[in-house]
């Protein structure tokens, strides 16, 4: 069996940041493996440890910088990686449909039995790529999976979908399938020193649009970002200022005044 895991390198804004044009200035961004994808990687690696002959391949749409994040996934047990990028992709404003076309081409190339993605990317937060891809490639799917049990013949999975308000939906999904993984599904491992060493010699294959049989139309998007700003705060918060002990003193007064602490 082959499992494809989509792994995104996400950007996080520093506490103090500035917006330049329609994005946060590059110097204020820090990059990391998307939290949800960390759980997806762990799920894939656990399956490869449970069953014989399971290959785990990761796929990333991202610039060369993303290889640091990809190496992290390789160090955690992904067997090899694919990175999709070229000048046309770099110039594009990737929407869900564009990502779907790119990943569908990767699926065509790799022919996996199971695709694991995260529920959402922490930075752009579409929460849509996995299910869109499933529909495109004709796989069955389940979104927001926080419990996963596979049949031993790997023909299907019994999953829980985490709904709102502490309710979980129990669903059976036939393979091939796309599952979008929710945090808390498992305990993502830290990369071991040995893993990190091994990752250095694992393959990261680079694909441009032409390598995937696509052209620039594949990343053309009718959705364009026209502005970014810090939300006008509706806050009328009273800030408690001063050194920590002064802040704590004022806070203690507030709590006493609200009557939630005796004394």
């Amino acid at each position: 069996m082959k499992i494809l895991v989509t792994v995104k390198e996400v950007a996080e804004a520093a506490d103090d940041f500035e917006i330049e044009g329609t994005d946060i200035g590059e110097q204020y961004l820090e990059y990391d493996l998307n939290e949800w994808d960390d759980y997806a990687v762990e799920a894939a690696v656990q399956l490869s440890e449970t069953y014989d002959d399971v290959e785990v391949v990761s796929a990333t749409i991202g610039p060369e910088r993303a290889e640091e994040t990809i190496r992290m996934a390789l160090a955690k047990g992904v067997d090899r990686s694919i990175r999709v990028w070229d000048d046309d992709v770099a110039a594009a404003d990737l929407d869900v449909a564009a990502k779907t076309r790119l990943f569908a081409a990767v699926v065509e190339e790799e022919d996996p039995d199971l695709v694991l993605s995260g529920v959402q990317a922490a930075d752009d937060g579409f929460g849509a790529t996995g299910v869109s891809l499933a529909d495109e490639i004709g796989f069955d799917w389940a979104a927001v999976v926080n419990d996963l049990e596979t049949e031993d013949d790997l023909s299907m999975a019994h999953v829980h979908r985490e709904l709102e308000g502490g309710i979980e939906e129990l669903t059976d999904v036939d393979f091939p399938a796309v599952l979008t993984i929710q945090t808390g599904l498992n305990e993502p491992r830290y990369a071991s020193l040995r893993g990190i060493r091994q990752a250095q010699s694992k393959e990261i294959a680079e694909f441009g649009l032409a390598d995937l049989g696509l052209d620039a139309d594949a990343v053309a998007s009718p959705i364009s970002r026209t502005g970014m700003y810090e939300p006008e705060t509706e806050s009328d918060a009273t800030y408690l200022d001063g050194a920590a002990d002064e802040q704590a003193g004022q806070l203690a007064d507030v709590l006493r005044e609200k009557g939630v602490v005796s004394e």
Binding site: D15, S132, L163, I167, E169, D172, Y229, A237
Partner: protein, 317 residues
């Protein structure tokens, strides 16, 4: 045609709040487009749901009678079929967990641009939508140059439309056989019961990822002890197994309405806020002055929890 098709959300026999909000979002967009608002009600007791959703501003309700509960193949298929029939300019679906499970498929199948998790919509010669990015630290505007288009609507952003009216209801025929579907719902399970019910607490001290290490939870436990508060948390603390699920506040945890909610090292992600914005008084301690939690706080302390919490414990010792 310049109509809007919106899809209602319901679960286990009850219409979910977002349905009343999506009707408002849909009505406003239909007004901008000078078109009609069609509402789709799919699966379950559709006649009862249609009655609940007979709201002023809805021009027609289309019921799809098939199955008891949500199934994404049914929702995606029926929504796409209604789209073909009505040829609207916009399809609005909720960004609920079920929305996450079918809306992207609808957009892909119909080849529509998808604006996900919109918090505001305006139409003037084309759609301009507002979304959030980077964990709600910034808002962005996006323009959509193609029509028709699909949008998923974030819950809690539009005021519920409650005014009732007589809305024509039409049954829409859509053949569906769940046993032939590749994903079959087997049932539901309630999780998160346990020793304490944080929903009953008057004073919640809630801890988030800012606490960094499991050992550091002792600090919060001490604060809870000296103040007589109840401890709750954001999701990562529960995901890490540091606290049981019944302590989680938020969309997939508990909704709480204490007199005082003290958020320590919690950023204020939308799924967290969904569970605590109803608290009487919200107080936040966070090192990041831009953390979205301050937008809903009544009192804010910009500071390091490892300095402020020990000092606060001293106040009550």
């Amino acid at each position: 045609m310049s109509d809007v098709l919106a899809v209602a959300d319901h679960r286990r026999g009850a219409v979910r709040d977002v349905s009343f909000e999506i009707v408002r979002a849909g009505r406003e967009l239909a007004d901008d487009l000078d078109g009609d608002l069609h509402l789709a009600v799919i699966a379950g007791d559709v006649d009862a749901f249609a009655d609940r959703l007979s709201l002023a501003g809805v021009d027609a309700i289309h019921t799809v009678e098939a199955g008891e509960e949500f199934n994404h193949d049914l929702y995606a298929g029926a929504t796409a079929a209604l789209f073909e029939e009505l040829a609207p300019t916009a399809v609005l679906m909720p960004n609920s967990v079920n929305g996450l499970d079918y809306a992207p498929a609808v957009a892909n199948r119909l080849d529509l641009p998808l604006v996900a998790d919109a918090v505001d919509l305006a139409y003037d010669d084309g759609l301009e939508a507002t979304r959030e990015m980077y964990g709600s630290k910034v808002e962005t505007t996006v323009e959509v140059s193609e029509e028709p288009f699909a949008v998923t609507v974030r819950g809690g952003e539009w005021a519920a439309l409650e005014e009732r009216a007589d809305v024509p209801v039409e049954a829409f025929e859509y053949e569906f056989d769940e046993s032939a579907s590749g994903a079959r719902v087997q049932g539901f399970e309630e999780v998160g019961a346990g020793d304490v019910d944080i929903a009953d607490a008057e004073f919640l001290v809630s801890v988030g990822r800012g606490i960094e290490e499991e050992e550091n939870l002792e600090l919060i436990e001490e604060l809870v002890e000296v103040t007589g508060a109840t401890m709750s948390s954001s999701r990562p603390i529960v995901d890490n197994g540091w606290l049981p699920k019944n302590r989680q506040v938020g969309q997939s945890g508990k909704q709480v309405t204490p007199d005082v909610y003290l958020a320590i090292g919690i950023s204020g992600a939308v799924q967290h806020v969904a569970g605590m914005k109803g608290a009487e008084t919200i107080i936040a301690i966070n090192t990041d002055p831009n953390a979205p939690i301050f937008d809903i706080a009544d009192y804010g302390i910009v500071g390091d929890l490892f300095d402020v919490v020990p000092a606060l414990i001293e106040e009550f010792e």
